[in-house]
Symmetry: C2
Subunit: 280 residues, 2 copies
């Protein structure tokens, strides 16, 4: 999704606490719904072909489409004046300042190959501000979410706890996550990432949305990626920020449109990594 | 562990079916035991320092050591004439042709950063032949194992099913897994990996032992890695082979000593990838 999420005219006031509770319940319902649509296609040992291969059975797009359709139907019934930005269908313009940002399967490669690190992403923007986000992993039954005030986690056993990033001011102590070195498509992007990776304590690839949630949980200190879309990132912003973390573009701007993204659990680490990314 | 696993003199006959059942039960008991020792250290949001940082609290080594000690104690009581090769302690020479190969935490980076893709590895060699293997993921409660005749999987809900690799003769259709591009430490290794990766349908990093089990399950078609140790690979060999897959070094030799490893779910794919790795 390369469309920008643009500021609407004349924003309405933020949600009342009653509305906020409805929005959060709706978000959990959407994540539940998407999970039931997507999970039957996970780890089916069929020949899976990617989106480029027209005409062949493609469980990823089938699952993605079914889940997004179900979520849109639920929103139309529950909050009909809200807008919807999703990966599979065209943007639905709402008549309010609220827009849902949906990605039924973030981490398509993980999904295709059977790793349980993909997730259902459900985010809600009020004008340009992410006010709510959920990342759900239906196979492990883990869920990470935020109402914009606090971030929480339900583990594989159903136990819920608060999420909190950890202090790590020094890059040489930081664990760095990135989905793939192949995200960096220009020599400048590759060099910038390598400047950070060379100074970090260790780098691990293969994270997608799961890595951002581990950052909110105080396990991962730093994430550096590029080429992200709005649907990849909006839901994760409240989860990270309400856990005490930072998420921006490489030039320190809001992350809601995706692109080159950096997330950190510590303000000093974020500043140091931004400086390294910007240096030549 | 860089020690080679060398052929002993005068091998004894292979296990009777009674012995084989005892060995498999022992292997499951060892995996259970290791899981209970390791899991309390997983996702503890403390500053975790790697093995190189002497003097600081290191939950990984603490967990590794506790688990390997418990497994060795259990083996001493159950099968006192068997040898033991583990990561944390010196090799124990046995008085039989059986040697257990133990790695309480394969995937240290995944463990440190909170990804549930590390595993407890328990393998058993008869002379130089891996005859049994288990990979257990205690957090998701998944277990993959083989008695050398068939490979099985217990999923997150406790359901058990057979594992079977899938057909994929053509590299251009294959999904390729590798733990990290940083495994390839020489320009020749990097170039060889890149020749394979460039022709594969898609490459995903960040797998460790979990990727080998997904290959046995028919989700991943090909794995290419380097710099592995015997304890990283012995337990996985029966799981892959009894599921119909292939695992060798890059020059087609037995994989039991680690080093440069390739695994495939399809014989034609294995041959094609071996050829590409060997080409200049």
């Amino acid at each position: 999704m390369s469309r920008d999420i643009r500021r609407l005219q004349s924003p309405s006031p933020r949600a009342s606490s009653h509305e906020a509770a409805l929005f959060l319940k709706t978000a959990h319902d959407l994540a539940d719904l998407a999970g039931t649509k997507v999970l039957p296609y996970f780890r089916k040992s069929v020949r899976i072909d990617n989106k480029a291969s027209n005409g062949l059975f493609d469980p990823v797009t089938t699952a993605d489409t079914a889940a997004e359709r179900a979520m849109r139907k639920h929103l139309a019934a529950t909050l009909p004046n809200h807008g919807i930005v999703g990966e599979e269908f065209a943007e639905l313009k709402g008549t309010s300042d609220y827009r849902w940002v949906l990605d039924p399967i973030d981490g398509t490669r993980a999904f295709i190959m059977g790793y349980p690190l993909w997730g259902v992403l459900v985010g809600l923007l009020h004008v340009d501000t992410p006010i709510l986000g959920i990342m759900d992993q239906p196979y492990t039954r883990e869920r990470f979410w935020s109402d914009g005030k606090k971030s929480e986690y339900r583990d594989t056993t159903g136990k819920v706890r608060r999420l909190k990033t950890r202090a790590c001011p020094d890059l040489s102590h930081a664990t760095l996550a990135s989905t793939s070195p192949d995200l960096f498509t220009t020599p400048a992007e590759k060099a910038a990432f390598n400047r950070v990776s060379a100074k970090a304590r260790l780098t691990r690839y293969g994270g997608d949305c799961y890595a951002y949630c581990l950052l909110a949980a105080g396990q991962v200190d730093l994430i550096v990626e590029a080429g992200l879309k709005a649907v990849d990132i909006v839901a994760l912003i409240p989860i990270i920020e309400a856990a005490g973390g930072y998420i921006t573009t490489w030039d320190g701007k809001p992350a809601i449109n995706g692109g080159r993204i950096i997330a950190s659990g510590d303000a000093k680490l974020h500043a140091a990594a931004l400086e390294l990314l910007a240096s030549k």
